[in-house]
């Protein structure tokens, strides 16, 4: 039978999560290696005290690595988790709900993480929890 032309499905859905998962994976590799290098090789033999940690966290590079690692881990993990959760559903509303939940969870995690770092950056915490 002649095929009827199929109604076009929604634009780029699917492309961004796929692309960003790969981008975040690449970044993850960089941040994890940087993290491991810093923790295990850059301060060999040094005593770890509150003071030394504070000194480190006052340097932009360390903050960048920590914040970046956090953001990338959260995105990569939650994007993957979303994939798993929507794997067996064909219901668009359910997919939207899961996506929203992941975003809320991700932003909250990021905010909490940044809150821990914030006293070192601004001299006082962002939030008073």
């Amino acid at each position: 039978m002649a095929a009827s032309s199929h109604p076009p499905a929604s634009g780029h859905a699917g492309a961004w999560p796929w692309l960003l998962q790969r981008v975040s994976a690449t970044l993850l590799l960089f941040f994890v290696l940087a993290h491991l290098w810093i923790e295990h090789f850059m301060h060999v033999g040094a005593r770890i005290t509150y003071r030394t940690v504070l000194d480190r966290l006052l340097q932009g590079f360390y903050v960048f690595v920590d914040a970046g690692l956090l953001a990338v881990v959260v995105f990569h993990g939650l994007n993957g988790l979303r994939n798993v959760l929507v794997e067996n559903t064909e219901n668009p509303a359910a997919v939207r709900a899961v996506t929203t939940a992941m975003w809320v969870l991700g932003v909250a995690t990021l905010a909490f993480g940044m809150d821990v770092l914030s006293p070192f950056l601004f001299g006082h915490p962002w939030f008073r929890l």
Binding site: A3, S5, H6, P8, A9, S10, G11, H12, A13, G14, A15, W16, P17, W18, L19, E87, N88, E90, V95
Partner: protein, 260 residues
Amino acid sequence: MGSDVLFQVMRYDPRRDVEPYWAEYPVAVDDGDTVLMGLMRIREDIDGSLAFRASCRSGICGSDGMVINGRSRLACKTQVAAVVSDRGRVVLEPLRNLRYVKDLVVDQTPFWQKFRRVEPYLMPEEPRSAAERPMVLPQAEFDRLSKASDCIFCEICYSECPINGVDRGFLGPQALIKAFRFEFDPRDDGAAARYAPLSNVEGAWRCRTTFNCTDSCPKGIPITEGIQRLKRKLVGELLSGMQPAYRTPMPVESPEETSS
């Protein structure tokens, strides 16, 4: 004839049976005989009412895909001796992920609809001309296209793909490898027309690279690799801001005239 092998076949006639049941047939099998030869013997000598599709007998026409001892395969390319050892018998079921109709017959309609959805043909149609058009491609690239065009529409990848199992909307490996074959043909200019069906949640992005299609393809087509290349091409198109073109039916051509 050699020894007897037990064929255990799922049978069901929607007009007569409430539900599918197993039938067992002892079939005389020689060394090197295929499962299809056994099925033909059942139909000719034991029970003529057994329904299964078959045509070329040599793995080219793609008619006789079925689940043989738990995996989707072509009955004409599967030797009895190669599968009988694991269960001591040959167990035959219809292909998965397609609606069951009778005995070993499934309804292939969704498979063909999805194939048609990716606009699987070279675009645009060149104006008729008697001129030769040389096509120079690196040998590796030509081989890749040639391999992708080996697809015989047997539906085995569709039956083995777990995504097709959970998501009726997923285009499936066959439609995607077919799209790949045209998207990477240097003569083709149909990317915009195929963008909408390919780049969406039921298209290439639904593939989870389980490699079941590649593992099961009777023609040995590296389907997953093709789909991944397709994804990379689609991302490129996304980032370059491609505007999907929705295909209108082909314009009515003027009737051909007899040559000479």
